[in-house]
């Protein structure tokens, strides 16, 4: 009896996972984390109105969700001043990135990203046999100029840019990206991942007509809207590209309560403002804690702060491990020289109090291993 026959591409893929969840780490540690500051989740939570809407919807969860996400799509379109045909809803930005890569990338096709940018995008590109070309950050910023030059050089199908950037928290003004797009080659689609856009200063979003065929933007309810566990992301772009998702997506992939909750969250601007204020305060406190310990916080347009630990990646990794032993879950960039930093998500006052105590101890042990 033979087993199933896998194509060569599938055989070549590793079984590695872009991110190990904190629950897996907690099971390895044998105890829960005291401060969950590693996944850029939004501990200030969903709008109470979204929670109420989901709780009401849970009793009707025997119904499939609307596969067209008609209500949510319409509300997002109104919110963005575009047509519903310019919006696609999916299972988080992760799910939508997978669909996008599948729509465009055949084995051997070139794709461009920054070395050290979002690993899940790379996971999808490799998973469909695309060839990744990675350019360096410029300082701690992703470099649109370098990305687009590489795209021209390798004839890329897709170029990926997160703005604001994860894991560094840096950002470009939208108009700077638009200017750089003069060098974006014909036939290369620019993906701007705007997962953190609601935390960023006015003017950060790329402000181009929505029917510009060179661009798709992705946003999410996972960050500022505090609904990471709901899995609701959306893409904004030209209608033909948005419509193409319907050829391949899992039409019944969206949780019904999550769709209803996202709609309620979108309509609660007060809560969003409340979250922004809480996050700003928490980020200021994280920066202060970093400075109290002689470390350098980077400016951030997201809900996290990258902290320069002042040495190399080996040292930062030790700080990270020692924080883990203190019950503090954080993550860090994967690639030098950004990996001199650790990345700390905005937390509650209680969590930041734990961090205040844990960080000096972690640094001491990392310096004297």
């Amino acid at each position: 009896m033979t087993g199933p026959r896998y194509p060569a591409l599938i055989q070549s893929l590793p079984a590695t996972v872009p991110f190990v969840g904190p629950e897996t780490q907690e099971r390895a540690l044998g105890k829960p984390f005291r401060a969950r500051l590693g996944a850029n989740e939004n501990v200030f939570g969903p709008s109470p109105k979204a929670i109420e809407a989901m709780r009401n919807a849970d009793a009707e969860l025997w119904k499939y969700g609307d596969p067209t996400s008609f209500d949510l799509r319409g509300a997002l379109a109104a919110h963005l001043s575009v047509a519903p045909e310019n919006v696609v809803i999916g299972e988080g930005i992760d799910g939508l990135l997978g669909y996008l890569v599948r729509l465009l990338v055949e084995p051997g096709d070139a794709v461009v990203t920054s070395n050290g940018a979002y690993p899940t995008f790379n996971y999808h590109v490799s998973g469909f046999g695309g060839v990744l070309h990675k350019v360096k950050y410029a300082g701690d910023h992703e470099s649109p100029a370098a990305l687009f030059a590489k795209a021209a050089e390798v004839d890329a199908k897709i170029v990926y840019l997160a703005n604001p950037d994860n894991p560094m928290g840096t950002w470009w003004q939208g108009k700077d990206i638009v200017s750089a797009m003069d060098t974006l080659p014909d036939g290369t689609l620019l993906v701007v991942d705007e997962a953190y856009i609601e935390f960023a200063p006015e003017g950060t979003a790329v402000d181009l007509p929505v029917d510009d065929p060179r661009l798709i933007r992705f946003r999410t309810f996972s960050k500022a809207y505090g609904m990471a566990g709901a899995r609701v992301g959306y893409g904004i772009g030209a209608a033909p590209l948005i419509q193409a998702f319907d050829k391949i997506r899992n039409h019944f992939g969206m949780n019904r309560s999550a769709q209803i909750g996202a709609l309620a969250a979108l309509n609660d601007a007060d809560w969003l403002n409340h979250v922004r204020a809480e996050v700003a305060q928490a980020k200021a406190r994280i920066a202060e804690i970093a400075r109290e310990n002689g470390l350098t916080p980077l400016e951030s347009a997201t809900n996290f702060v990258a902290i320069d630990c002042g040495q190399d990646g080996t040292f930062a990794k030790m700080v990270l491990a020692e924080l883990g032993k203190e019950g503090v879950f954080v993550r860090m960039p994967f690639v030098a020289p950004q990996d001199r930093c650790i990345r700390i998500s905005a937390g509650t006052n209680d969590e930041l109090a734990i961090l205040t105590q844990a960080l000096p101890r972690a640094l001491r042990r990392a310096r004297n291993p």
Copy 2:
């Protein structure tokens, strides 16, 4: 400015959708359905314990779900007397079928199913460039013998069999499928879709060692557990195949509350039994209504009843349309001769009272258009 460059396969795909949701039909009709009996949803709903668990979890929806679904996977493994390594969790069976096809099918590869069986499977096969070969039903049963013979003839990578069958509700004993598997060719993976297995008589499940490399089975919380809107399905199979899903799946694709709710639902055997009893009663009533109208209900091991309308597909389609005008949402098989039937899901007493009134009127108008 050129747009994105789509591969030929993507260009060739239609933008059609396997199923149009009832919400879309309601918007077209301008009013809500009075009886929602078309999507084989379980109107008796999730376990109250599952609802409570999800409501509690909703406030913590700012956390990503565990990407390994550790707790749910462990509980399912224990429930099935297999190891967690034999269970993969995904965004409904629809999502898992997509992953499975991607794992095995390259453009041009042969795949076998029954003509008139689950369209979403076909959607995925076409979406990855597979070549579908369809065999006829034997009477109103899918035919394992015909499926496996065709698989041998075309050297299929995958053969799909739903047991119990949708849309007809017919079923095989598991041992009959196992016997037929003697003719399953080497290197062909048999997918048994057991979405409705909890409604079926003892002995319907295929009882083979879980490490048999010829087989994967899919089950769901959408039907007997009443959680269609949650999107929680699972696959059961040999560890190497199950592990392969980790190479390509959307690791953070699962809604956190849904995972927690599914676990609570799995642990509430009493509610499952209550649902089975309600469904059995509703099916008996649907059969009775059919007979009262001179129609022939088919025996069913699911939560729906296929009703032979006694003429051809054109007539059944008219009955369906007339029921729609009465505010009764039902669906029907796509292919002759099964399309002589309409398919009615188990509903509440109130919904079946509406059906009792609507069906004679719909039949009268269909007979005298």
